[in-house]
Structures are given as C-alpha cells and as structure tokens.
Symmetry: C2
Subunit: 231 residues, 2 copies
DNA sequence: ACCTGAACACCGTTCAAGT
DNA sequence: ACCTGAACACCGTTCAAGT
C-alpha cells in the first residue's frame, strides 16, 4: 500500500487550479477534483466549504498570484504613478493569460476575495501618491476597473451571480476596514462627505460609467487628430 | 382539459429570459424552463438544440434587445460620432441593468451571437464616418470593448468558456462577411495589409490592451491636472 | 410533427458509519 | 480527526414509444 500525502486546503486548491487550466472551469466538479487527488468527493468537505467555497478559494488564489507577479517583476516601487499602474495591469494580464478561466470566475463570485481589498487599496494609494485627489481617484478606480486585474470588466456585480447585493457590508465594519485598507476608507469618507445628504449617491455607478466612457471617447478623438498615445 | 398554447422557440426563449431575470442564470435548467411552460424537459429539444443552444439563443435575444433600445431612443442618427457611440453605450447599459445576468452570459458564450457582427459593424461604421482611419478605429473597437454592450469587459474569450479558440473562422467565410459586415471586412483587410508579412500580428491583443490602458491613464492624468471630462 | 416516460451518466451535498 | 459508502435531490441528454 502507498503512503498517501495528507489532504489539505492548499493541495485541494492547487489541484483545482490545474484542472481548470487543463480542462476549463466547467470541468471543475467536486467529484473530478477529488478523483485527481485519489480521494472521494466527500473528503474535500473537510478542507473546503463546498463547491462555492472551493471557487472562492480559487479566486483568492488568483489574486495572490497577481500580487506575486506584480512584486516579482520589479523590486522597487516605480516613481511615476502611471508607470506603476501600467506595470500592475500588465503583470495582472500575464496571470490572466495563464488562467483564461480566471476573469470569468472573478466576475461571478458573489463575495469579493478578501485579498482584493488590499490590492485595490494599493492601487488607490498609487493614485493618491501620484497627486490624484479622492474624487478623481475614485473615478480612476472605476475607469481602470478590472484592468488592474488584467482584463476589462466591472469586476464584481453580485446581482449577475444570482445573489442579492449586500449594501450593508460597507458601513458595517467600517472601522475594521480603516486599519487594513486605509486609503479606501479615506476615499469613501471623503466621497460620502462630498455627496452631502445624498449618502446613497456617493458611488453613482451611472456617472462612473459615463466618466470612463468619455475618457475613452475623448482619447479616441485625440488619436483621430493624431495626438493620442502611440498609434 | 385546457387547450395549451403551442410551444415555440420564441416562447421557450421568452420564458427562459424571464426565469433568468427573476431567479438568476444559475436557476436556468432545462427542467425548470420546461416546468414554467407546463411541459416536460424533453419537449424543449424540439425547439432549441440543448442547454447550450438555449443559452446561445438567450444571448442573441439580448443583443436584439440592445439594438431595439438603441433604435427606440432616437429616430435619427446622431451627427457627431462621439454622441452616437455615447448614446449606444448608454442604451446598451439600460438593457444590461434590466438583465444583470446578461454580461456574464455574453462573456462566456463559446460562439459569438450572430446579431453581434452586424452590431459591431455599425459601431465601426460610426467611427469611420467620424473620420477615424481603420487603424485607429480598430483600436477604438478594442478600447470601447464591451462598453458598446453596456458593460466593461473584453466580450468574447472562448478560451475562458473552456472551448478552444477557432482561429480559422475569420478567414473561412471572408467573402460572405463582406456582404453582411462591410466595414469590419474592410478594416480587417486594411489591418492585415498594414501588418505586412506578419499576418498573425494584425490583431495583437497585447498592443490593444496597452493602447486602452494608456488611453485611460492619459485621461486620468488630464483629470488630475483639472482638464479632463467633467469631474 | 410534436410530446413523453423511463433510463443513463452525471452533479452537489447530507448523514451515519467507519478508522 | 479525517475519510468513506450509500443515499437524496437534482442535472442534461438519449431513445423508444406514444399521439
């Protein structure tokens, strides 16, 4: 009889990632992952809270991989904020090309992978360091959207996943947030204050959408006139 | 006994859309759709080629709905290309807000909904009419990406859906394309010619990604200096 | 032609049982 | 504690049978 390596959350997620890489997301079943580990499907439940939990773990793993890629590409932090964000987007993109299923996975998660808060806080910090005020930075976050994750989409729309949006969360642990994602917290505070009484309007998605749209259209107009980024 | 309305592809798709609206994409099963129609699951196969075919039909239906929204919003074609594209993006967006599952569905289809070719041809035509040459227009198509569909993502990455990319299709029915999507055909021809010997490089996705990225970063830099679109 | 019942090969997950 | 077998409630789809 062969001494089998012990099962673990890490081992389950690693095998799941490899299976997705080789056969696509749709081939990811509990039974299939278990099979690849030489184990019964039910054994997975001791290391992962069900299928949805496994997918959440996979999403977090991808975010971590992006962070590694960003850090690995260069030791020092780039001085120019645009260069830094550019590096981040391109690094993220190589990760997404490695895992073509990742954008689809990330965009359908009902809950945001925990590591992503920190990631976005870093993106925001880069903008603020570059001299963007919170308002412009806020729009910048929407505009770059999931470009900082290496693909183009409004990353998380829980409604799309079939779940209801949880609007309370943001306020709920506001203080806990301040410690771990200081820039995001400050931005939200600043934007809510600027919105005045209309607290719900602090993140007017329609307006963000139009901002991004105009950014692109204006850029294309400049390219048309031959003064855009290297064509 | 009740005289039952005859089943039809249209009726199946309509009920499927309503079911997705009310319960999300994950609730869409052949058995559930059939149940909503008061019929057995197997009956659907006479009007729709399986589950995947039903989802394809749903995707086409959404594209058609976008076209209707674009046309309904205004009788005449807007004179300014930017205003026209802006109208298109915002119209598409209201459709996506109506069907939150649509972006996720569209982005995971293995084959492109047929109506979309025409739609994109119209977008391209608008750019060309506006004075963008094919090269800039090509980049514009990538930059606006799925914004013209009301959400932000590189729309179709068949690889993400678990299927292999079909690189032959584009050349295969090139001549048939010329009739139905003249602008797209002309653009492809122009870009392939410009790429010279490196025929594979006519659509260098990496370069398109960077172009869009720089468009956004440059726009944000302008906003930082206070000269961007209305902040 | 259109619809159906039974059947097949899969799912995710629960639960009581093993070690 | 960790893993398992059997079972349950679901899937998509095939196929022979009905009308």
């Amino acid at each position: 009889m062969v001494t089998r390596e012990l099962l673990s959350r890490e081992r389950v997620l690693r095998v799941a990632r490899d299976l997705a890489d080789s056969s696509g997301l749709s081939a990811l079943s509990m039974r299939r992952v278990a099979g690849a580990l030489g184990v019964e499907a039910m054994s997975l439940y001791h290391h992962v809270p069900g299928k949805e939990g496994l997918l959440d773990g996979l999403a977090e793993q991808v975010v971590a991989e992006v962070q590694q890629e960003v850090a690995g590409g260069q030791g020092d932090r780039l001085e120019d904020w645009r260069a830094e964000l550019r590096h981040r987007c391109l690094s993220a993109r190589t990760v997404m090309l490695r895992h073509p299923w990742a954008p689809g996975l990330l965009s359908t998660r009902a809950t945001i992978p925990s590591g992503l808060w920190q990631y976005y806080d870093e993106v925001l910090a880069t903008m603020v360091r570059g001299g963007l005020n919170y308002h412009v930075a806020h729009r910048g976050m929407h505009a770059l959207g999931s470009m900082v994750l290496g693909f183009v989409q409004e990353v998380f729309s829980p409604a799309a996943a079939g779940g209801a949006a949880d609007t309370d969360t943001a306020e709920q642990d506001f203080e806990a947030m301040a410690a771990t994602v200081p820039h995001l917290t400050a931005m939200v505070a600043s934007e809510v204050h600027a919105a005045g009484d209309d607290a719900l309007g602090w993140c007017d998605t329609d307006r963000e959408f139009e901002f991004t749209l105009d950014l692109l259209l204006d850029g294309l107009e400049r390219a048309r006139r031959g003064s855009g980024p290297g064509v």
